[in-house]
Amino acid sequence: MKYFYYPGCSLEGTAQEYDASTRAVMRALGAELVAVADWTCCGASAGEAVSHLLSLALPARNLALAEQSAIDADMLVPCSACYLNLKKVEEHTRRDGTLLATINEVLAEEGLSCTNTVKVRHLLDVLARDIGARTVQAKVVRPLTGVTIAPYYGCQCLRPYEVFDDPQQPTSMEPLIEALGATVLPWQMGAQCCGAGLMTTKKETALERVSVLLQAARGADCIATVCPMCQMNLDSYQAKISRMNAENLAVSVLYLPQLMGLAFGLPEKTLKLHLNFAYAQSLKGKMSALRHAAEAQQTAVGSEQ
């Protein structure tokens, strides 16, 4: 299995742990990631707020770079915002040849052209459909027994394009979480918005969105995310939101591949768990208990032999 890998800006900065854990887990699963050389920003949510053409030309530049390398592979994108921007190029230009010509007129400035042949895939899509829970389960050496996980999908990997899951009642993460030996928290908030970029421009509103999510996640040891914006919003304001609600709403917020990596027995350092703000005691305690149990079992097996 081979994929072009488009990390996007967040994964180089505030979401380094998503990048590190995605690479580590994909390697463990036997997938090869080919870097898109010289990739640039997809335009995020700013692109379409300023220029429609720029909001398509920026992601198209990256698709064109991938095409240049003449490898037949899909493009794997872990960030949901990047995924949607890249996907929009695919969707809009498929219906509109004139638009593709206009985008290519812009890309010609950089000696590039996009023919819309590289398929854009979200990380969760690849994990759920290309790899699958069975293959994931086969890699598990340290099952997350007794750990309850709230699957959080967010918006832009689900909507508006219905690609790999139900856009309102998604379930694609559940078999993966169960394959890790963990328990899925039954909740209705998996597809609700975290407030996204409003955390920068309309903070009070975004804090309310996150507050609703954290309250609904009561009973979970961890929220699993597949988007750096969701993770940052859920992860960074827990103390403030707990004060707002006069209730301790602290909960671990980990990227799905970080949880997979833990169950695969990869070192916490490789998964950069020290970079999550919200890696809370309830999960940490359970993880170290599971580790000790596994080590004790190994020692017992060793002494028997």
Partner: protein, 187 residues
Amino acid sequence: MTVQTQNGPHEAPDPLAAIGENIKACMQCGTCTGSCANSGAMDYTPRELWRMVQLGLSDEIFASKTFWLCSSCYFCTLRCPRGLPLTEAMAALKRLAIAQGKWKEKKSTKFYLTFLDNVRRYGRVREMDLMTRYFLSLKNPLTPMGFTPLGVKLMVKGKLSMQLPNLFSAGKLDALYRKVREVEGRS
């Protein structure tokens, strides 16, 4: 409506009418409002906004903060029984407000513009440089304070790049941006 454009005062296509054209099939059912997580913070609900767009009530629309509160969750687009591209229409209103200088939302406007300028310079976002320029553009010393705790936490974790700003050399995506402006100016 006659719009003054750089081409002169002749009759130009009204950009608000173009947005109205995309949502003209709206039948005011309110599914969008019921699906919107942020409608409680809006001065007009999404349903009301679409009616205002149909009626071309430009002044009221651009005085409203409704479209700035769209977080692009795409629930309204997904659920609209008429299949209208509502989230894209929200973005189109942001674009129009910024292009016509009708923005009342300084924070949103400055953030989007500073963000794209950062991308033009470096190709990829440099968060420290972006936030510094964003705060400077707001000219309000109180805004950064709300972000200081997060900034410090990110810095401690080594999540903010500390590269020196590039002040004088050419931007990584100058040519691409120039061409986009040229093509857009033509239409």
